[in-house]
């Protein structure tokens, strides 16, 4: 390789690095903001103060960390449009007995099958940041925010809990 080309290599590497898409990484606070706002596009969705159940697996450090981040973001009340969310941490094994929550936020790492089944039994909208949760039908809605906001709704799961989203919203998201 000539010296001239060797000199160009670092610059070329930088251009390639800049041109490469940024690798997405979850930001629980951003995901929460999108999830909260998305709930306001439910027909007869929550308004005013509502409790978001944050489902976690105490045996999974990632799940616990995400739960902690979500609970910290919720704080004493997280305003998202017409709804102000407060949080209630719920162990995955205890979802069946959970009460007083408007929706469930399923952290990554939780065995979402049983949680989804419990959510359906209670007619609760389940939201997850793990794409597999929504594609499997355990979660009604999946959200991700990096590198851009993506919202996916599982129509069958939504129908199972009686959730209907507003038409304009439906036309701007992915449905599976």
């Amino acid at each position: 390789m000539s010296i001239r080309f060797k000199k160009l290599l670092p610059a070329g590497s930088m251009i390639l690095a800049l041109a490469a898409p940024m690798v997405g990484h979850a930001d629980p606070a951003k995901d929460l903001a999108v999830a909260g706002r998305a709930l306001t596009f439910l027909e007869n969705g929550p308004t005013g103060r509502a409790v978001l159940g944050v489902v976690f697996d105490p045996a999974k450090p990632g799940s616990v960390a995400e739960k902690n981040a979500i609970m910290a973001a919720l704080g004493a009340g997280y305003a998202a449009g017409a709804v102000t969310l407060t949080g209630k941490a719920i162990e995955a094994s205890a979802v069946g007995g959970a009460s007083g929550v408007a929706a469930l936020y399923v952290t990554t790492g939780v065995s979402y099958g049983p949680v989804g089944a419990a959510g359906k039994a209670k007619k609760l909208v389940t939201i997850g940041s793990d794409p597999a949760c929504v594609s499997s039908g355990a979660c009604v809605m999946g959200v991700s925010t990096d590198p851009k906001v993506d919202i996916t709704v599982n129509r069958a799961a939504a129908a199972a809990v009686g959730a209907t989203f507003k038409a304009a919203f439906r036309m701007m998201i992915k449905e599976v």
Binding site: M22, G81, K148, K166, A167, A168, M171
Partner: protein
């Protein structure tokens, strides 16, 4: 006929198959906050994120409008990549997309919340008549290229859809007072009211005045121009009729005076009064989101030409559409529209020329997979012409039956969008747009002029054909997320057929006979081709400092029909379109301070001289506009802004020289 029934049946079947889609009208603000980007319906009629809209579109936000420091819509639009603006006078400009701009620009369809504010008498937008205050605009959506498959006739070079705040969702209260050099003074008030749970309203009022640019050439003379001024009012009311049904009613009025080059190269004073009323019912049903709309625009326009002439134009539009989603990947829109448009035949005013248009349209958006989307839109318009009343004595074409004709034209938009990665997007699009003849071209002017011992008549042409534009475009966008920058490249090609000319008194279109005068009229005089490339880039150096740059290069080649002189017919677009135009802008914010600047460049071109009417060179120029603002306590903002700051006077067209202007603004929000 059988095919029509089959199509209707298929559409009805699709509608019935549509899943239940319960919703309210579109809440732009909430959706924008949710997705972190502007949302729009101007690409397909369906709500979409701006980065996913299958059209070459640029959206100007309310904050960008405010921080531009511009006082007019053309000044704001001038900052959009590929937009050509001819600033003929203080407060009077013509705007078009990517070339083919002209005095009384007819190729850009302009709307406010979907209501046409483009005026059909000349086929022109008189920007000062638009009854909207800058403070009540949520966003301006600029679609580049033809989109008449959605909006109908005249959306050929592009569409500007001005979206105002919705009083149901947005509480907007702003008072702005502005004063500046050259006698400039303006004020506006925007206020939103909630009348119980079910009724919301927004009222806006505004007025402005300034001195006309200095008269530095033999023409126009002091008697041919007046200082421009404007006043307008708008009322927007939303009533929630039922849980899933709402009624939005909008009424407006404007009264303006400005100096126009509507009659060609020379200047004339135009005074217009416009009024409008619009009602839209939107209901979410099991068949989708149904929308029924009716509006009427009324225009009285007086021109200081031919000793004084006026037109009264009334357009009534009724439309019905259904928007629905089938399954998880298919969105459809089906719609029908009827419009009636009528104009007096000036200056005698004993006759009328009118037309009815019936249109059917449809759109299908298919998300093939996560990376690939196709959109197809079709619209068929059938225009039926009519003329009633007497003619000038010995006028050519003096037979109302010549107007008994129908014109049926099809518009189409097809787009294939491919997003191979999160950072890359390609879009390949085809568009076919239809530009209808204006009512004046169709016969709204019958004017005898003395030519020595003879009388020659300027008359309309009932046989004028619509102009057709075909546009092909390949667009690529890349998001350099690590350095917070974006780059877009567009390659485009346009093919125009049957471009309509202006009146030329250099060539008789009708030779005198024993029973009729000779005369002049508009004709289809040329085809034309355009090729171009556009580069758009923007980014943020720090959270406080942003930049943007764009450059659009176009090459126009006219192909006039036999015997047509494009210069004397005012269709010499090869000469009158600059090859290059671009912008370089920055925005900065620190604490309570904010600063913005935009350098606008236009390359060499020629334009019709105000004295000789011949093509005259206009040298390349750059103009700078800037604003410095300070956000004080209690919602008060103080700002100083200016336009054309580089020179006291500057040739931006072949007419009046654009002047440096500076304004001081105080605004209060609550």
């Amino acid at each position: 006929m059988k095919k029509q029934f089959l199509l209707a049946g298929a559409a009805a079947g699709l509608a019935l198959a549509a899943s239940s889609a319960h919703a309210q009208s579109m809440d732009y603000g909430s959706l924008q906050e949710l997705f972190g980007e502007a949302v729009t319906t101007s690409a397909t009629g369906s709500p979409q994120r701006s980065t996913e809209a299958p059209a070459d579109m640029q959206i100007i936000s309310a904050d960008e409008i405010r921080r531009s420091g511009e006082t007019s819509l053309p000044g704001i639009l001038q900052r959009v990549a590929g937009i050509d603006v001819l600033n003929h006078a203080a407060g009077q400009s013509d705007v078009n997309v990517r070339g083919y701009n002209q005095a009384s620009s007819p190729r850009l369809l302009v709307l406010v919340n979907g209501r046409q504010v483009y005026l059909d008498h000349y086929g022109v937008t008189i920007w000062a008549t638009i009854p909207v205050q800058l403070d009540e605009i949520r966003q301006i959506e600029v679609v580049k290229g033809p989109n008449s498959a959605l909006f109908g006739f005249n959306a050929v070079s592009g569409v500007v859809n001005i979206i105002t705040y919705n009083p149901k969702f947005d509480d907007t209260d702003v008072l702005t007072v502005r004063g500046g050099t050259n006698g400039a003074a303006s004020g506006s008030l925007v206020s939103t009211f909630k009348l119980g749970q079910a009724l919301s309203a927004r009222l806006s009022l505004g007025g402005s005045r300034q001195e006309e640019w200095a008269l530095t050439a033999p023409l126009p003379t002091r008697h041919e121009v007046h200082d421009p001024h404007s006043a307008s009012a708008n009322l927007d009311v939303v009533a929630q009729l039922a849980e899933k049904t709402e009624l939005r009613m909008e009424g407006s009025w404007s009264n303006i005076q400005e100096d126009s080059r509507a009659a060609g190269a020379t200047y004339a004073v135009v005074k217009t009064i416009t009024s409008s009323g619009k009602a839209t019912i939107t209901s979410d049903t099991n068949l989708g989101t149904l929308q029924a709309q009716v509006y009427q625009n009324q225009l009285t326009a007086k021109y200081s030409i031919a000793g004084g002439i006026y037109w009264k134009n009334t357009i009534t539009v009724a439309s019905l559409q259904d928007l629905f989603k089938v399954g998880t990947a298919h969105t459809f829109r089906v719609g029908g529209e009827y419009r009636h448009n009528t104009l007096n035949v000036a200056p005698v005013n004993t006759s009328d020329v009118s037309y009815d248009v019936a249109a059917l349209s449809g759109m299908w958006n298919w998300e093939v997979n996560d990376k690939l989307t196709t959109t197809t839109a079709l619209r068929v318009d059938r225009m039926s012409l009519e003329r009633t009343g007497p003619f000038l004595p010995r006028a050519p074409n003096a037979n109302n039956k010549l107007w008994d004709r129908d014109i049926t034209k099809t518009s189409a938009n097809v787009t294939l969008a491919w997003r191979p990665t999160e950072a890359d997007a390609f879009r390949l699009s085809y568009g076919r747009g239809v530009q209808a003849p204006s009512l004046i071209e169709l016969g709204g002017l019958e004017l005898p002029i003395a030519a020595g011992p003879m009388t020659l008549d300027i008359v309309g042409n009932p046989n004028l054909k619509p102009s057709i534009v075909t546009n092909y475009e390949l667009a690529y966008d890349h998001d350099f997320a690590p350095i917070k920058a974006k780059l877009g490249v567009r390659l485009f090609s346009q093919d125009w057929k049957d471009i309509k000319t202006g009146i030329s008194t250099a060539t008789l279109d009708f030779f005198p006979t024993a029973t009729t005068n000779g005369g002049f009229t508009q004709i289809n005089g040329s085809n034309s081709k355009l090729k171009g490339v556009e580069i758009v880039a923007s980014g943020r150096v720090t959270p406080e400092l942003g930049w943007r740059a764009d450059y659009t290069l176009t090459d126009v080649e006219d192909a006039p029909f036999a015997g047509v002189n494009t210069a004397s017919r005012s269709i010499a677009f090869q000469q009158t379109t600059p090859k290059g135009r671009g912008n370089l802008g920055m925005d900065w914010e620190h604490g309570a301070w904010e600063a913005d600047a935009n350098l606008h460049y236009v390359g060499d071109f020629q334009f019709y001289n105000a004295v000789t009417t011949k093509l005259t060179p206009v040298n390349a120029f750059a103009s700078l506009s800037a604003r410095l603002g300070y956000k004080a306590q209690n919602g008060v903002t103080l700002a100083i802004a200016g336009q054309n700051l580089l020179r006291e006077r500057q040739d931006q067209t072949s007419g009046l020289q654009a002047e440096r202007r500076v304004q001081f603004t105080v605004s209060k929000t609550w």
